[in-house]
């Protein structure tokens, strides 16, 4: 069994024939995957700008407050939806399609149609964002796009999802790798989620508190069953690939996958503890949130055991460093999320900036960092050019890491103090909770500048890649050269 797994694992070196095969697959993927990456990065820049603006508005409420389309309550959802659908989903689809094709060992057919789907998807994000800024938001969190934008997104997605499933159907015979399970599941779960939420909340709106239940079933599952599987699929691929050894345990992978599917899907109601719902619904979500320890620790042990003895590769490989920081943050943010679901702790963090910090730690610290790591691996293989500047990659990494660390630290601490004020029955002046968190909000807004700078550096690097700017390099771009030549990682 272990020989078989070894031969099929992405961490195993391959013979010359498979180099040719891979080159053919990469050539077939170039257009669509680069389209998703390009549009994703463009949305990332716009989303960073809007997010930073919204953050500064919390410190300076009069900032740009004369126009209705720039009011906080429109800029904030525009930021969130751009990041979710424009950046994270686009880049996730790009990485997901590339991984699926590589692991199924099939070249992409009819790529023109897939590129068309990408254009439709981006059009959906664009008109949805314009809709929010123009005052057509429904104010249902994560689903603010107006009803005339979401069918466009759904159409775009349907075409994309079908591609993922078809590739899996026509894969070359052999072992199915853990990343493929996660990707197949994500490609199937997302349309179910999106169709259900849109039907019940936008097209045929339900009434009353059901809105809250469906809203958070959707909101949490988009994170847990769309972004998380794509991020984990990428980490499961990149870590073995770069360090050149197979994943530690096949059986832990199975346990991690099915427990994630079962427990994560039940988590949503922990956003509404104390809300107008039957107690069992809330309890079920609290229990499922605690049970998330199983998939999270399983994946953490599996990744850590794979990495053991190879942590020095982090000094050299950009792909590995971004991916490992992402994977470690996944463990951290998930355990934090489980604790936040415990009602007594939830009391303190609910309704405060603490939750915002948690959301950014998950979507940025875990998912976005993992996607950056994957792009550092994938893009050179698509454009046939190496990253032109290790210094810029270093800047990208440290700006992004310090930015997210400062953001999460300030939101967490500020939210904690805010929670103490909000819960103290002796404090009757609401504004004391505003005052206590104010300095932390300013620091957090400044951290947005660091993140925006990181994204700008990355965007410039990416454009230089597309233009094949700089001198042709022999090996992969590394942070620094290994001391012993034999230690050279794959990227």
């Amino acid at each position: 069994m272990s020989d078989l797994l070894r031969s099929l694992d992405p961490g195993t070196p391959s013979d010359p024939r498979s180099y040719v095969e891979r080159a053919e697959i990469d050539a077939s993927l170039r257009g669509p995957v680069l389209l998703f990456f390009c549009s994703g990065i463009a949305w990332l820049l716009l989303g960073s700008l809007l997010g930073t603006l919204a953050a500064f508005k919390m410190s300076f409420p009069h900032l740009l407050d004369s126009a209705d389309w720039l009011t906080f309550g429109r800029v904030r959802p525009a930021h969130l939806n751009i990041m979710i659908y424009g950046w994270a989903s686009s880049v996730g689809i790009g990485v997901g399609i590339w991984l699926m094709a590589r692991l199924c060992r099939v070249a992409l057919r009819h790529r023109g149609l897939l590129m068309g789907a990408g254009v439709v998807w981006n059009l959906g994000v664009l008109i949805g964002t314009v809709g929010i800024l123009a005052g057509q938001s429904r104010s249902i969190e994560w689903l603010e796009f107006p009803g005339w934008a979401t069918p466009v997104l759904f159409l775009g997605y349907a075409l994309i999802g079908v591609w993922g499933v078809i590739m899996f159907r026509f894969r070359r015979p052999g072992h199915v790798y853990v990343s493929q399970w996660y990707l197949l599941a994500a490609f199937l779960w997302f349309p179910w989620l999106y169709a259900t939420a849109n039907t019940l909340l936008i097209w045929q709106p339900v009434q009353g508190s059901v809105v809250g239940a469906v809203n958070w079933w959707y909101g949490h599952n988009v994170l847990g069953l769309w972004f998380t599987p794509i991020g984990l699929a990428s980490a499961y691929y990149m870590i073995p690939k770069v360090i050149g050894r197979p994943i530690h345990s096949y059986y832990l992978s199975i346990l991690g996958f099915w427990s994630l599917a079962f427990f994560y899907s039940w988590n949503g109601m922990h956003h509404l503890i104390g809300g107008p719902f039957p107690a069992w619904m809330i309890s079920a979500s609290v229990v499922a949130s605690i049970m998330m320890f199983i998939p999270v620790l399983t994946v953490a042990i599996n990744h850590h055991s794979t990495m053991r003895g190879h942590f020095h590769y982090l000094k050299w490989s950009p792909t590995l460093r971004f991916t490992v920081v992402g994977a470690m943050t996944y463990t951290l943010v998930s355990l934090q999320g489980s604790l936040m679901a415990i009602p007594s702790l939830n009391n303190l963090t609910h309704f405060t900036d603490y939750t915002i910090g948690h959301a950014h730690l998950g979507l940025y610290g875990f998912f976005t960092m993992t996607m950056f790591g994957a792009m550092y691996y994938i893009v050179p293989r698509l454009v046939g050019w190496e990253w032109p500047s290790a210094t810029m990659i270093r800047w990208h990494f440290w700006l992004a890491t310090s930015g997210i660390a400062i953001m999460v630290a300030s939101l967490t601490l500020g939210g904690f103090l805010q929670g103490l004020e909000l819960n103290d029955p002796e404090v009757l002046d609401f504004l004391s909770s505003v005052r206590v968190v104010a300095p932390f909000r300013f620091i957090r807004a400044c951290s947005g500048i660091l993140l925006s700078a990181a994204h700008l550096v990355f965007a410039v690097l990416f454009i230089r890649m597309l233009l094949r700017h700089g001198v042709r390099q022999v090996g992969p771009a590394l942070f620094s050269a290994p001391e012993k030549p034999g230690d050279l990682p794959a990227v």
């Binding site: 407050d65 938001s137 009353g208 239940a213 039940w266 107008p276 005052r435």
Partner: protein
Amino acid sequence: MNRLPLLFVGILLVFSTSWIGLVAYPYLNLGHLAPGTSSDGLVPPPMTASAIAGEHVYAANGCIYCHSQQVRPAWLSTDIQKGLGPRQTVARDYIRQSPTFLGTMRSGPDLSNIALRQPLPGWHYQHLYEPDMVTAGSIMPSFRFLFRVQPVQGQPSLEAVTVRGPHAPPSGYEVVPTQDARDLVAYLLSLKHDYPLPEAPEPPKAKK
């Protein structure tokens, strides 16, 4: 796990459990609740056309990102002690609303019972035009774009908003609400849960 059908069915079956529990169940059991009755008629009372229009203004401008609309029970939280409402909110309180703005943030105060705390339209107009004017230190943005500054013609308008201090209009001008502002205030003034529901009795007042 090499067989597609097994993987496919497993992925969908596992996910369907949460769909049944967290979507289908509440849809069937909470989606069609009937209003209760009290001496004043149906509770919660039907919303006026203006309040329904105001609900859309509330959504369009993203009030939900800072204001929740739920009072948690006394055994779980200090919400009632802190005066957010006379009792916890329950599913039936929300049957008139679509969408429902339960909210997840309290960067600003909870609004479940804002009409009980601030029953006067004039306060709301002043507050929306310039929050700092009535609540010093507030970080709520100004919603000036929901108002018109117009020259006074003859008698001042009856609904002109009293604005003093640095935000006052130039002399000879007055601030009047647009229809959106009137609807939004009508909506805010509909937010009160002071009617009785059998499933949500008011908890006894804590002894001082």
